[in-house]
């Protein structure tokens, strides 16, 4: 084993002991504890309230679309900050590149807007 890999031995030992700890504590509990199943115990846990209906339900998706648009412009801002700091070095080339980037994103926003995504309906 090379020196490089030997330094990773700690990680392996740590991982193995983590698995061992869980296995031992769960295994020991299983051996010791009494087993008396009942219908109430098998029920889904919903903060103490009896579960109602099925597990499948549909949610409003409009939050998702807003979040998506937000992330898009969030990432745009992340790109623009370092670009603005180095703008002098990038010169005209950098300006054109960034304008192209912003234009494409703006097209996306216009598209979403026209498709009625921004309307809270």
């Amino acid at each position: 084993m090379s020196d490089f890999l030997r330094t990773y031995l700690t990680v392996a030992v740590f991982g193995a002991s983590a698995v061992l700890l869980v296995a031992v504590s769960l295994g020991l509990a299983r051996l010791v504890r009494p087993n008396r199943p009942s219908a109430a115990k098998a029920m889904n846990y919903e903060s103490g309230v009896d579960p109602v209906g099925t597990g499948y339900s549909q949610d409003q998706i409009r939050y998702y679309l807003f979040a998506l648009l937000f992330v898009m412009f969030d990432v745009e801002a992340i790109f623009i900050f370092p670009w603005a700091v180095g703008l002098e070095a990038y010169g005209l080339f950098g300006l054109v590149e960034m304008l192209a980037f912003i234009t494409i994103l703006a097209l996306g926003l216009v598209y979403a807007w026209r498709k009625g995504v921004l309307r809270w309906a």
């Binding site: 090379s2 950098g94 097209l107 216009v110």
Partner: protein, 506 residues
Amino acid sequence: MIDAIEVPSIDWVALLPLTSLLFGALLLLATSALVPGRLVARLAAPFTLVVCAVSLGASVFVWRRLGEGTAPFADVADAVAIDRFGVFVAAVIAMAIALSTLLAQSDRSLQRLGNIELYALFLLSGSGGVMLAMANDLVVLFLGLEILSIALYVLAGYDVRRRESREAGLKYFVLGGFASAFLLYGIALLYGATGSTNLGQIGSFLAANLPSHQGLLLAGLALLIVGLAFKVAAVPFHSWAPDVYDGSPTPVTAFMASAAKAAAFAGMLRVLFTTFPTLADQWRPVIWVLAVGSLVVGAFLAIAQDDVKRMLAYSSISQAGFILLGVEAGSSFGVSSALFYLLAYTFMVAGSFAVVAIVAGGGGRPRPADEGRVPQHRLSAFRGLSARRPTLAFGFTVLLLAQAGVPFTSGFVAKFGVLGAAVGADSYALAIVAMLTAVVSAYMYLRIVLTMYLVAPDPGAPRVSIPAMAGAGLVVAVAVTIVLGVVPGPALSLARDAVPTLLGAG
């Protein structure tokens, strides 16, 4: 004043096959959002076809320029390879988009949803595929694969009202995301092992010095192969293919099986053949296993299906196995055979799915009664098709026989090429497996043919109407399949000229 950075020189004309698709998609989306009314919706399909034609024309132009004294070169700071290999695949992808567009234009369930986004996604996905084929840097390769894939995830789930389509979209997304992560991890490991992500630099680094500890390098290469093998649906990374092919709208399936497969194979061929020829002894056995697995699983599981779309999905897995034969050979003959196979298969598979869509009742006006109806792709829907629609049955027969590899079709020449490459590389066992599984696959193709010709049609079978656009696409696909089979010479020499070379090694 900070020192100005060096701006990479960009040969825009050489990038036209890629940028025309990209700008076409953006233009389509922008116009559809800004111009009200139905005019844009009506012009979307012709516009998409024009964009494909422009991209194809640009490919032809760049191809000719590369022949007249201009040596292949690396563009945009060595990130993009401008060579005949990339241009060849770009042309195949443009044709695949055009065929899928013709098919989508007459699909009733898609017309209900509005087609503009579908075409825009075809073009975007195609531009990602072209980027993947032209990538001269692993990061660009990843970028291309993601642009290709993310649009495909949306396309698979495009028919939101059908549960199968939604399921296909989600399945493809989750598994595809996994595969992309593998690929990215592989790129990171390769960077760690060689100190570069540039294909040319990695290639020349490996040619100059062979690292004593190859673990990192081989692990990276293996993960890279996993990511690309997933996209071409090679066994054991095929499990998504039948469900996704079956659930997606049929025009999208046609696109997936033609353009996406061609792009992923292009990436695989370029990476393995130009950058890692020194490691051929290591990757050839891996590809060997992938090829045998794909051939056997694709052929045998196809027999057990009674849904034609699923049969074609498994058949596409076994065809991927045949193309892997050309990859495994690791010779320039193997690469050119694989390229010819990709060209031929694009038309075969797009045409086959066109027939499936037509028989399933994709044509005509949208009717309220069709709301939520599951399209019929079962084999029983093809009973007695020769009596109901003789030309359609004949076209499908030609395409199926081509996939089985019958002489005087493009499939025969393609299979002959990859088998020749395998024998030339002394992979006799692989060639024998391929021959035997081809016989098994032939059973499946002939079963469809016999169902069309020898079984009487069901009394209540619906009338099959052939929409003009899908019919035109089918005629083109059948014509190309026959022409490539009878006069394969020109296309074969094109494929020979398209063998990639190592670029930008410096």
